[in-house]
């Protein structure tokens, strides 16, 4: 029976093998190097159209670990950059560049071409006032369709429905964040705040003492009073009745996959408070029975729920 990945994982996880792990890892590193530099990017057509690693994850491995451009397969990286650029410009791409990592300067070159040198300098030195001034100018005066939010080590940029996360200290950017895990509570809070600011400003986002991000939606008493007491009362239920009697519980069930806790409570005025408690873990388990980390797409699912609730049943009735 040949070796399978579990054998390697188990071997590396076993402390008895510590002496041999470096040898084994050295073999893997050499193989990766050969694959990238000698087998894949040497044939540029292949590297462009059918790279030998799925969605250039080996490039991500290098960038996320802080390797400089000199240690990257340069042609492969140039293709990655070009694909993000083409996707941004609405041109045909071989694959949608989701979760693509780029160096900050290249990201800025694509999305803010005219100001990218200045922006790179300002962001690198965390000179936010200058950087945000450029952003604001572009939004107001050049009608560019993007929004941004800066918090701590993160700058979140949203172009249409695409979310790009700038890791300021690391000087790299996650473009089209989707399946990647959210790496910190600070970032999680920042994204929630960003969405709240954009789509549901009355909804509260805060960090609890137990390190959860709490998102509180308020369903006003007036709205609640319009919901029928039993589902059978009306043959053609209103939209509100239909939602709260038929869909709401399914939504809550769906939310429970990604929220640590959901609290439904009344405040002193009789409004219904829907509190979602989120952290970096979901309530789902993987094959090894470890909790799956919260991903950007999961968070988007949560935020879409809140946005719908807000737009359809909160603002209208307030």
């Amino acid at each position: 029976m040949p070796l399978d990945p579990n054998h390697i994982i188990n071997f590396l996880g076993n402390t008895i093998n510590d002496k041999f792990n470096s040898e084994l890892l050295d073999l893997i590193i050499k193989r990766i190097h050969k694959l990238c530099f000698e087998e894949c990017q040497i044939d540029r057509i292949q590297c462009t159209l059918t790279p030998l690693c799925t969605r250039r994850f080996l490039l991500k491995l290098r960038i996320k670990n802080g390797l400089p451009l000199e240690d990257l397969p340069k042609f492969c990286y140039s293709v990655q950059k070009n694909i993000v650029l083409r996707d941004f410009r609405g041109k045909t791409v071989v694959y949608r560049p989701v979760d693509a990592y780029l160096y900050l300067v290249d990201f800025l070159d694509i999305f803010f071409h005219g100001d990218y040198r200045k922006l790179n300098k300002f962001i690198s030195f965390q000179n936010w006032s200058e950087a945000l001034e450029i952003f604001d100018d572009r939004i107001k005066n050049q009608n560019e369709n993007f929004r941004y939010h800066q918090k701590g080590n993160f700058l979140i940029i949203k172009y249409d429905d695409r979310l790009h996360i700038v890791f300021v200290d690391e000087k790299y950017v996650l473009c089209n964040a989707n399946r990647e895990n959210i790496v910190s509570i600070e970032l999680l809070q920042a994204i929630c705040e960003f969405y709240a600011k954009l789509y549901f400003p009355e909804i509260k986002v805060k960090l609890t003492k137990s390190n959860y991000v709490e998102i509180t939606s308020i369903l006003p008493k007036d709205v609640l009073n319009t919901i029928s007491e039993t589902p059978a009362e009306a043959e053609n239920p209103s939209k509100l009745d239909h939602y709260f009697w038929n869909v709401f519980y399914e939504d809550l069930e769906g939310m429970l996959q990604f929220c640590k806790e959901i609290h439904l409570e009344y405040d002193w005025m009789g409004n219904l408070l829907i509190k979602l408690w989120i952290n970096l873990e979901t309530n789902n388990f993987n094959e090894k029975k470890y909790k799956i980390q919260l991903r950007y797409r999961d968070l988007r699912f949560l935020l879409n729920f809140i946005q719908r609730l807000y737009n359809e049943f909160y603002v209208i009735w307030l």
């Binding site: 044939d43 540029r44 057509i45 159209l49 140039s78 293709v79 070009n82």
Partner: protein
């Protein structure tokens, strides 16, 4: 801005018409669009068109029509796309794949020009097109083109080298002998380049299978055999000439000896002075002839040397090595034949002995048969004799009985 919107509208129309299958109309529209471009926007327009049609159903057919109707040509496309976007260039190349496979004549004429392009992207793209061409039914046997491709194995850009390797592998799979020959030739020209050796090694390993080795060797042998045969023939000629010269030398020596003898004999004959003179003259003539012959011999030797010098030293060495091997092989063959003959002789002797023995056995058998026959005859004779005796006895007994009866009857009559 208005232009951009117009372009977008046109491209949307083109997309729609292409999906509806109105290819001729699309081609006409594109032709108009491109013909209205100026120096500044011509590349942009070409890119825009290719970008639009390369990603939609039926786009490939449109590209084919554009090429066939000379609205776009391959050198222009490759040279212009080279400057912009790798992804677009490779996408267009992929779209050209089936056209290239089926209609290589549209592309092959540009091969030499584009392989010599200063832009490595163009060289790479052309090599990729050649790979597509070979992927179809077409075989590339044009040696100057193949040599040009092989020359890209020492290109200054790695990705061009890699593409050249792939191209030669693709061609070599269909036609290994030509590629092997060209690569050998190329290796000799650049014998010190280690990377080149590796590349060539890589190509040869992938194209030369055990089955194909025999084909290549046979082809090469037939080509190598000719010069070897010529050399052997020349050697034979030289050997025969040498032998002839030696024979003539011997004749001359003999004649000289004869003359000397005659001289001695004639020294006693004073009256033969004139003859002596004549003889001396003849001797001189003979010596002259001898000298001439020696000169000729030297000339032949020189010619032989010149012939050898004109060939490259390596070739001479190789040929010498081949000749040595051939001689060794011939010797071995002769030894083998001798042994065969010996064996055959032994076999024949054994067969002869066998035959003799068989003959002896046959003779003995014949003798035995004769003896048996004699014995049978004797037996028959004996049986005949015994029968005759028995008959005689019976006859005698009968006669006796008749006599007795007669005597009895006579006695009775008397009584």
């Amino acid at each position: 801005m208005a232009n951009v919107n117009n372009d977008k509208d046109l491209m949307e129309k083109i997309k729609k018409m292409t999906t509806e299958g109105k290819i001729d109309a699309v081609v006409e529209k594109i032709a108009n669009y491109l013909s209205q471009s100026d120096e500044e926007n011509s590349i942009e327009r070409l890119e825009y068109v290719l970008e639009t049609i390369s990603s939609i159903m039926g786009g490939r057919t449109v590209i084919r029509f554009l090429i066939e109707n000379s609205i776009i040509d391959i050198p222009t496309v490759l040279q212009n796309l080279s400057k912009r976007d790798n992804l677009l260039r490779y996408s267009v190349l992929l779209n050209l794949k089936t056209i290239v496979e089926e209609e290589s004549d549209l592309f092959l004429p540009y091969s030499v020009e584009l392989l010599g392009s200063e832009d490595p992207n163009v060289r790479e793209a052309l090599l990729q097109l050649l790979i597509f061409i070979v992927g179809g039914e077409k075989e590339i046997e044009d040696e100057p083109l193949l040599e040009l491709i092989a020359s890209k194995l020492v290109d200054d850009r790695d990705f061009v080298i890699e593409k050249a390797i792939q191209t030669l592998k693709a061609i070599g799979k269909k036609n290994p002998s030509i590629i092997t020959r060209i690569l050998k030739k190329f290796t000799k020209e650049c014998s010190e380049n280690e990377d080149l050796k590796k590349s060539i090694d890589d190509i040869l390993r992938s194209i030369v299978t055990v089955e194909k080795i025999e084909e290549i060797v046979e082809e090469e042998e037939s080509k190598i055999e000719k010069p070897i045969e010529e050399l052997v023939e020349k050697e034979k000629e030289l050997e025969t000439k040498e032998i002839e010269l030696k024979e003539k030398e011997k004749e001359l020596e003999n004649k000289a000896v004869e003359l000397e003898v005659k001289e001695i004999l004639s020294s006693f004959d004073l009256a033969q002075n004139e003859k002596e003179k004549q003889l001396k003259e003849k001797e001189i003539e003979l010596k002259e002839k001898e000298l001439e012959l020696k000169e000729k011999e030297k000339k032949i030797e020189l010619e032989e040397k010149i012939d050898k010098q004109t060939l490259p030293k390596k070739l001479i060495k190789e040929e010498a090595a081949i000749l040595d091997k051939e001689i060794e092989l011939k010797k071995k063959e002769l030894e083998f034949k001798k042994k065969k003959l010996e064996l055959e002789e032994k076999e024949k002797k054994l067969e002869a002995i066998e035959i003799i023995e068989k003959q002896k056995v046959l003779k003995i058998k014949e003798e035995l048969i004769q003896r048996e026959k004699q014995l049978e005859q004797v037996e028959i004779d004996l049986k005949k004799k015994s029968l005759e005796e028995k008959e005689r006895k019976i006859m005698e007994d009968e006669a006796k009985r008749i006599k007795e009866k007669k005597t009895e009857l006579e006695k009775k009559e008397h009584n």
